[in-house]
Each structure stands twice: as C-alpha cells, then as structure tokens.
C-alpha cells in the first residue's frame, strides 16, 4: 500500500514537472528565438556583409577595423560618456528626492507622486517634439522667459557644443524620474519604522535621518538603479534622434544613433552589428568598473 502511494506521488510529481516545463515553453521558445539567437547572430553578422536582404560574403575583422578608425564613431563614445556622466548622478538624486518627498506625510505628497510620474507615461518621441519646440530659439518658452527678464537667449539644441547634451539630459530626467521614483518608493516602504523612531529620539533632523538611516537602508536598490541607469544611458537614442538638429549632431550623436543610421538607413547590417558589439563591450566594461568601485567601498 505504501509503495503504491509513493509511486503515485512520484508520478504525480513527474507529471507536475513536465507540465511545468510545458508552461515555461512559450516564454522559453520566444526568448530563444528573439533574444538568444539574435545575440549569437550579432557575432556572426559582424563578420559578414549583410545588407538587410541577404547575408553575403565573409569580411573578417574589416568592420571592426573600420569602426575603430572612424572618427565619428569614436566621438560618439565620447558624447555618450559625457551624457552618462551628467545624466546618471542627476537621475539618481532626482528620483530619490521625488521618492522621499512622495513618501512623506506632507499634504500633497500623493499628488506629487502622480505629477512626478505623469511624464513617464507619455511617449518619449511625442514629448521630444514638444521639448524641441520649447527649446526653440525664437518662439520657445525658455528663451521667452530668459528674454523677458533681460537675459540673453540661448541656442539650446542648436548650440553646437556639449550644451546640446545638457538639453538632452534635461528631457531625459524629466521623462525618467517617474519610473525610478516608483522603485525607490517601494524600497523606502521597506525601511523599518523603528529605525526612524530611534533617529528621532536621538534628536536627528530630517537631513541627518536621510543620510544615516534612509540611504544605507536602500543601498541595494540604489545599486540596482544606478546599474540600470548606466546601461540605459549608454543606449540613448530616441531623444537625440527626435530633437537634435544636424548642425549640433557632432556633439550629440550617440553610438546607437549612428548604429541605426548605418544599419537601417544605409543598409550596412554587418558594420552595424560590429558597432553594436563594440558598444556592448563598452557598456559591460563600465558596468564591471562600477561594480568594482562599489565592492571596494563595501570592504572599506
């Protein structure tokens, strides 16, 4: 009787496992076909001439050599580095601040949460055009305000200098703060109230509480958001593509913008793949560097 029961249990378990794998099959198949295979194919395409219609001859390292010798492409990496360096710290600070404010018991905190999140739900391309007009030299809001208080008008998106990137960062922050804020909000909810009580009893003011209680408590989340922000920043495309005029592209062209142009406008799929792999390597490098810095801090 017991052996029969054990056998039934075992076959029930086995059936459960098979069904479980079956349930995972749609996701697994789609993941393999649309993520894993393309990832592997990227390495294959980077060595072949692919014009988006058919894969042609083997070209060896030619595309990689061309990429590294291309001044525009190298400049693109400088551009994106500048963007990332400006963007990531501000992104963390603004979304953390938004979360702290949104989590507080002040009146209007709940409304603030909605207001902070609103820009995130609209399409970045649609809003990019709105911002492009707001940055307009002659009829834009910003210059309107500047001139009406007697300051000189700025060229914003057409400034033919790295100020263009500052403008892109502004829009990026505006549309991105909501998403990160949500993640920080969830993290803040996880901080035990006893810690806050203890701090208050010790006489800490708001600022001290923030530094010594809140920040250490949400450190893992900060680490996660910083990593994702770095990875995302290096892939900046849509805002630059929609907002930056050709005159200022030299300072704003990002690797992905270039890659898109090369791959889909000039139909050089192989070269584009090589470029994307180089970009991938750079992103992995910076992510790894960031992890090293954080680990070092932990041991200290």
């Amino acid at each position: 009787m017991e052996i029969a029961l054990r056998k039934t249990k075992k076959s029930l378990r086995r059936k459960q496992h098979i069904i479980g794998y079956l349930f995972l099959t749609p996701t697994a198949v789609l993941f393999t076909v649309f993520t894993v295979i393309p990832f592997i194919m990227a390495f294959y395409l980077a060595f072949h001439n692919y014009n988006l219609l058919e894969v042609k001859e083997f070209v060896g390292f030619e595309y990689f050599a061309t990429s590294f010798k291309n001044a525009e492409f190298m400049k693109a990496f400088l551009n994106i580095l500048i963007y990332a360096v400006i963007f990531v710290p501000f992104a963390i600070i603004t979304s953390l601040l938004a979360a702290v404010l949104g989590n507080s018991r002040l009146r209007g905190a709940k409304l603030m949460r909605v207001i902070f999140y609103l820009p995130s739900i609209t399409g970045s391309i649609a809003m990019a055009y709105v911002w492009r007009w707001m940055f307009d030299i002659d009829s834009g809001v910003f210059n309107g305000i500047l001139t009406s208080i007697g300051l000189p008008a700025l060229r914003w998106l057409d400034s033919r200098s790295y100020f263009v990137m500052v403008c892109v960062v502004m829009v990026s922050l505006w549309s991105g703060v909501g998403n990160n804020m949500l993640i920080f909000l969830a993290a803040l909810k996880g901080v035990p109230t006893e810690s806050y009580e203890a701090a208050r009893l010790d006489g800490a003011n708001g600022f001290q509480t923030l530094i010594h209680i809140t920040l250490p408590a949400i450190a893992p989340t900060m680490y996660f958001i910083t990593t994702m922000s770095i990875i995302g920043a290096f892939q900046m495309f849509d805002l630059v593509y929609a907002m930056v005029p050709s005159g200022s592209m030299e300072w704003a062209r990002t690797p992905v913008v270039m890659l898109y142009e090369i791959g889909f406008t000039r139909f050089k799929g192989g070269l584009g793949s090589a470029m994307s792999i180089i970009l991938f390597g750079v992103i992995m490098l910076f992510t790894f560097l960031f992890q090293l810095i954080v680990k070092e801090d932990k041991t200290v």
Binding site: Q16, F23, L24, A28, R113, L185
Partner: protein, 286 residues
Amino acid sequence: MTKALYKKHTVRGIIGKVLLYAFFVLVAVIMLLPFYWSLVASFRPETENQMGFSLIPKTFTLSQYATFFERVADVGAGISVFEIFGNTLFIVACVILLSLLTCSLGAYALTHLHLPGEKIILKIMTASMMLPGIVTLIPSFLVVDFLGLTNNFGGVIIPAAFSIYGVLFLRSFFKQTPSEMAEAARIDGAGELYIFFRIYCPLILPGFLTLGLFTFNSNYNSFLWPSIVLAPEQMTLGIVLREFQMVVSDTGALMAGALITCIPTFIIFLVGQKYFMENLAFSGIK
C-alpha cells in the same frame, strides 16, 4: 523634548513648510509645463506660434487639429489618423493578451510547480535583464525577416509576446498565494491547467492589471522596432509623429498630434492610477 513636539508651530517650522510647498509648486510647474505648452500651441494659429513667446494665447482655433488630421495622409502611406490608431491598438491588444498569457504560465510554473533547475532558470532570467538590448537589434531583423514576419503586424507582436520582466513580476504575486490549494486540487484529480486558470489566476488579478497597464505603455509608444519592421500602411502612432514633422512645418499641428497620441495613455493612467503607482515597483529586484 517639548520644544520638538511643538516644532511645527514655531516660525522656523512655518517658514520651512512654506519653502517646501513652494518647492512642490515649482516642481509641478516644471513637470507639467510641456503639457500645458503643447496644449497652448495646439490651439493657436501657426502665425501666433511663430510670433515669439507669450504665456496666454491670443486667438483660439481648432485649425491645427484639422491640419493634423488632414496632413497625416501626406505622410507617405495615405492612411488616416483613425487607421493609425487602429493599427496601434490592434498591436497593443494582441501583445497584452499574449504576454499576459505567457508570463503568467511561466511565473506560475516557477512558483508552484517546484521544477528541478528552477534556481538556474531564474538566475539566467535575471541576468538577461541586465544585458544591453542594442546588440540584438540588427540580428533580430534578420530573424524576423527569416520568419517572414516583416511588413506584418506579427513582426511586432510576436517578439513582444513574451517578457522576462513580466514573468519575474508576476512571480512575486504568485509567491503570495499558497501552494496547498494546488496540492489539494491535484489530489482531487484536477488537471494542472484547470488549477492554473480557475484557481490561481483569479487570485492575481491586480498583478495582471498592473502588468497589462505597463505593457500597454511600453508598446503603445514604441517607435524603433515598428519603424524597422512594419510597412507604411501599417504605421503606428509611435512612428507617425516622426514622419509628420518631416512633412509638415506647422508646430501647432505637431503639438496637436502629440497630444492626440497621448490621450489614450492619459485616460488609462487616470483610470488605472492606483495600479500603476502602487504595484509597479514590486519588480524582481529582490
């Protein structure tokens, strides 16, 4: 100690509060300015838009909206705004339905079916979310082309029908449901699919709603991939604005278009606000 208790009634406390609320107002203005501005621009004739800056519009007109509706046909495919809306909504609806299905099946399997190798699968999934997606852009086109899905709504729908994030997200909801119900139902002879659909799915409706909203958002506005894969007649909202501004120079009409594009997201956001804000953060960070 008593001083601290009555702090909010001191002058310092009041000034602090005033500053904080002023800051709130400033932030609100910055966050909402683009919406206000595009609204203003879309209701003014183009001449006034070009005339330089003024906070309050002088003339009110609907002509910019008319221009947008008319000139969209010029944008290269001859289709109307309504068809574009239709295309977009069709794609998004399919993606939501399919991805909710695949994600929930996967999440359930990883939570309640105790599969061997579960930990490794989860590790791979979490790791894959950290990889930059850009590498797969061009090869994905090769794959989609190979499958014959270019110039086809399927080319956009099927690659989006799964979501590793979705699986991890729904998993956190499934984890909050007990395993015993499944055990009991199995002993009673219920099939696994029945257990899944009839017992567990109803329990995580909030999760479905939230993920559905999130999926709606990410696909409704999507521009890059649809622009690569779809034929001109299949244009979606994400693409039309870009094409429009290359053909029509009226800023007001472009703003009108941008606002029209945003209307469904606004409506959905207002209706589903609670789900957006409160549940979305339960992603698989843990």
